[in-house]
């Protein structure tokens, strides 16, 4: 039996990697993948606690998160495609025209 701390530490590491990716990278696709990483770190934490306390709530929640993430990816990729078509780039630092 792997102790619960190991799962949680993995979850934290994954989340930290995702957050660092979102903040540090400029490529929209990389940022997207980093967000997925953070979501799945959260999912990991959910299922960990669900198994720990023998309840199904966490498992159910993970399904919803995955479904929402899939929908988000669909919208997000569509946006990235449209941005690329107009700007010929997917560098998020160049997407600052809403500033003013």
């Amino acid at each position: 039996m792997v102790p619960i701390e190991y799962y949680l530490i993995l979850s934290v590491v994954l989340f930290a990697m995702g957050a660092a990716g979102v903040l540090a990278r400029r490529n929209a696709l990389i940022i997207f993948m980093s967000i997925e990483l953070m979501l799945n770190a959260a999912n990991l934490a959910f299922v960990t606690f669900a198994r720990q306390y023998g309840q199904l709530d966490g498992q159910v929640f993970v399904f919803f998160v995955i479904a929402a993430a899939a929908a988000e990816v669909a919208v997000g990729l569509a946006l990235i495609v449209m941005i690329f078509r107009s700007k010929h780039s997917i560098d998020v630092d160049q997407m600052s025209s809403l500033r003013e």
Binding site: V92, S96, E100
Partner: protein, 697 residues
């Protein structure tokens, strides 16, 4: 049947009608007069006064049926304030009925005369629309005069007193914007103001007297007042009577307030006859007679009244001898004759005073109306003359200043205006005191009483009587005899019958009026005794009568010597002027009384008014207080509020807030840099902070 029934109970309940009838007349003429022909307006007014005369006769008949006992007809309560209870009550006694008969009787004749007179006058002056207004005013006057003589208390008397003063003002200023020839002028309006203001001084005295009467005698109702007189100290009564005397000298034009009456001749001639000769000016005499119980207790007041009357009589008579205006001679004559009456009632000879009052009403109304007829005749002559000269000429455009009242323009009217001449002669002889004309009997009674009780007054009045006969003789010779001194007089025409008919009736009264109070019978005297108590009636004296007649005849003879024997040429100075020299000039200018009053009172008053207007009101009140203190102070306050407070503080707060907001915004907009990753970092930091807070709180 009804009549006989009324005879037994008396007609006293009809008393209010003497006021009501003229009131109805005036309302009728006021409302419908503008749309009705002149004749109707005039006759309605005359009939209203005539009806009042009929009522007065009925009252007199009823009164004699109950032996002159005073009857009080109360119409309604007037006011009840504290201990003051006053009714609108008419007092029907022998004194008031005598006045009512005189006022309405002479008034009716003058109204009828005025129909003819005003018909011509409004056309000569060029404004026929004023015909109606004239009769409205005249009826109002009669109504007010009736209130004056029939009121049962001093306040009601005062209402009438003020009312007739108002009518006098309205009628003196009847041609307020035109002069005697119908040219624009303000002289008449000024004369009206003068009369009103002079009367106001007198009214002030009357008011004070009324206040004192109420304070010390506890009532204003005649009977109650007179019953109290004995219980009040003499000095109080003296004060009351002297203040009342101020009212008398104002209304009856005695020294020192007589100056308004000569100027009052600016009114149309019927007004001069009715108001300024026969009725209103006698109100003062009536007031003294009515207040006889008051005056009776203070001999000092009586003496002052008698002396004022006698001095006025002589003083005014001397002025009358040197006047050229036919109406002004009569005006001063009126003042002089009023002096006789005031002297008589002052001496306590109430019967003689009232007798002279009534006789004077007859012959002075006659003289004024005849003078009016003369003036109309001259105006007609003038009209004919200017028509003859220019073909179409209109007198208003004539450059020559022609005065139709000036006796120097007359002469020789005897043959051209025969009716007017004969009635004028009757009036003259009555005024001069030639027996058996009316004025002889009444004047003789006054002189007789004076000779027995007040020698000084007697001598003054005798001198005045001499002057009276002289100036009337002068007038008759200047106006009616000799050659015409002006073309207008040559072309003068007699007046129509509506004018001459009242003259003839008045002439009859002037000739025969004396029978009212013949010596030995003393009808009027005994009639008044019912009201005034036992009167002092002096018995006729052949010596006195003969003396007075001789004096009058001598004066007329003198007048003939100066004016009748040799013809007066047009531009020649007055014959009397050659004889008297400077004295004549003094008389001619009325002793410069008007100028003296102007110098002593009026100009001082104007100075005071100017001082108040310019210095107090202008410089102090407006310039200093308003401009320097109020306006400047307010300006300073406003500037303070505008500059430091509004611009500094209020604007500072408002602008400061705006600046602050902008500064904050300029700081905050740095966060809005458009980089998604910096937003994400903010979110992360926010989450960390919140979680940290939740963990470590």
């Amino acid at each position: 049947m009804l009549f006989s029934e009324a005879m037994s109970t008396g007609f006293f309940n009809l008393a209010p009608l003497v006021v009501l009838f003229p009131g109805i007349g005036l309302l009728f003429n006021m409302v419908f007069g503008g749309r009705l022909p002149e004749k109707v307006v005039g006759w309605v007014a005359s009939l209203a006064v005539g009806a009042a005369f009929v009522i007065s006769i009925l009252l007199a008949v009823s009164l004699s049926a109950i032996h002159g006992h005073a009857e009080i007809v109360s119409v309604t309560e007037w006011m009840s304030i504290g201990s003051l209870h006053l009714d609108w009550a008419f007092r029907v006694d022998t004194l008031s009925v005598a006045m009512m008969l005189m006022v309405s009787g002479v008034g009716t004749l003058i109204h009828i005369y005025a129909i003819g007179y005003m018909h011509e006058d409004v056309r000569f002056k060029g404004d026929p629309t004023r015909f109606q207004r004239f009769f409205v005013f005249m009826n109002l006057f009669i109504a007010m005069m009736m209130i004056l003589v029939s009121g049962d208390n001093y306040l009601m008397l005062f209402v009438g007193w003020e009312g007739v003063g108002l009518c006098s003002f309205l009628l003196i200023g009847f041609w307020y914007d035109l002069d005697i020839l119908g040219r624009p002028s303000l002289e008449n309006a000024k004369a009206a103001n003068k009369a009103f203001i002079a009367n106001r001084i007198g009214d002030f005295g009357f008011l004070i007297a009324s206040f004192l009467i109420f304070t010390y005698l506890g009532s204003l109702q005649f009977d109650l007042v007179f019953a109290e007189v004995e219980h009040v100290a003499q000095p109080v009564i003296l004060t009351i009577t002297l203040f009342m005397l101020l009212g008398v000298v104002g209304k009856s034009a005695q020294i020192p307030l007589f100056v308004w009456l000569p100027d009052a001749m600016a009114g149309p001639t019927p007004v001069s006859a009715l108001i300024h000769a026969a009725t209103m000016v006698t109100a003062g005499v009536y007031l003294v007679a009515r207040s006889a119980p008051l005056y009776g207790t203070v001999p000092a007041a009586q003496e002052i009244v008698a002396l004022i009357g006698a001095v006025t009589a002589l003083f005014a008579a001397t002025i009358a001898v040197a006047q050229y205006d036919i109406k002004r001679v009569l005006a001063y004559s009126t003042i002089s004759q009023l002096g006789f009456m005031v002297a008589a009632v002052g001496m306590g000879a109430y019967a003689a005073g009232m007798f002279h009052l009534v006789m004077h009403a007859f012959f002075k109304a006659l003289l004024f109306l005849s003078a009016g007829s003369v003036i109309l005749g001259i105006e007609r002559g003038y009209h004919a003359m200017s028509h003859g000269k220019k073909g179409h000429g209109f007198h208003h455009t004539d450059d020559e200043v022609f005065n139709p009242n000036d006796m120097r323009n007359m002469g020789g009217l005897k043959d051209r205006m025969p009716v007017t001449f004969w009635v004028y002669l009757a009036g003259t002889l009555a005024l001069a005191g030639i027996p058996p004309f009316a004025g002889f009997w009444s004047k003789d009674e006054i002189l007789l009483d004076a000779s027995l009780h007040y020698p000084v007054v007697y001598w003054l009045l005798t001198a005045a009587a001499f002057m009276t006969a002289f100036y009337m003789g002068r007038q008759v010779w200047l106006v009616f005899f000799g050659k015409s001194r002006h073309e207008a007089a040559e072309k003068a025409e007699e007046s129509p019958r509506i004018i001459t008919a009242p003259l003839v009736i008045l002439a009859g009264l002037s000739v025969l009026g004396g029978v009212l109070n013949l010596p030995h019978f003393h009808t009027l005297g005994h009639w008044l005794e019912y009201t005034l108590g036992e009167l002092r009636i002096s018995e006729f004296s052949w010596l006195m009568a003969g003396q007075a007649t001789l004096i009058a005849l001598f004066a007329i003879f003198l007048a003939w010597l100066l004016y009748g024997r040799r013809e007066q040429a047009a531009n020649e100075p007055d014959a009397l002027k050659k004889l008297l020299g400077p004295a004549f000039v003094v008389f001619e200018h009325m002793y410069w009384i008007d100028e003296g009053y102007a110098a002593v009172f009026i100009n001082r008053y104007k100075d005071l008014a100017r001082f108040l207007a310019e210095v107090i009101d202008g410089r102090f009140w407006h310039d200093w207080l308003h401009d320097s203190v109020l306006a400047a102070g307010f300006g300073k306050l406003a500037r303070f509020l505008a500059d430091p407070v509004d611009l500094g503080l209020i604007d500072g707060i408002a602008n400061g807030l705006a600046d602050l907001t902008q500064w904050v915004a300029s700081r905050l907009r740095r966060f809005q840099n458009g980089f998604v990753r910096s937003y994400a970092l903010s979110v992360l930091l926010g989450v960390v902070l919140i979680l940290g807070y939740l963990l470590f709180r």
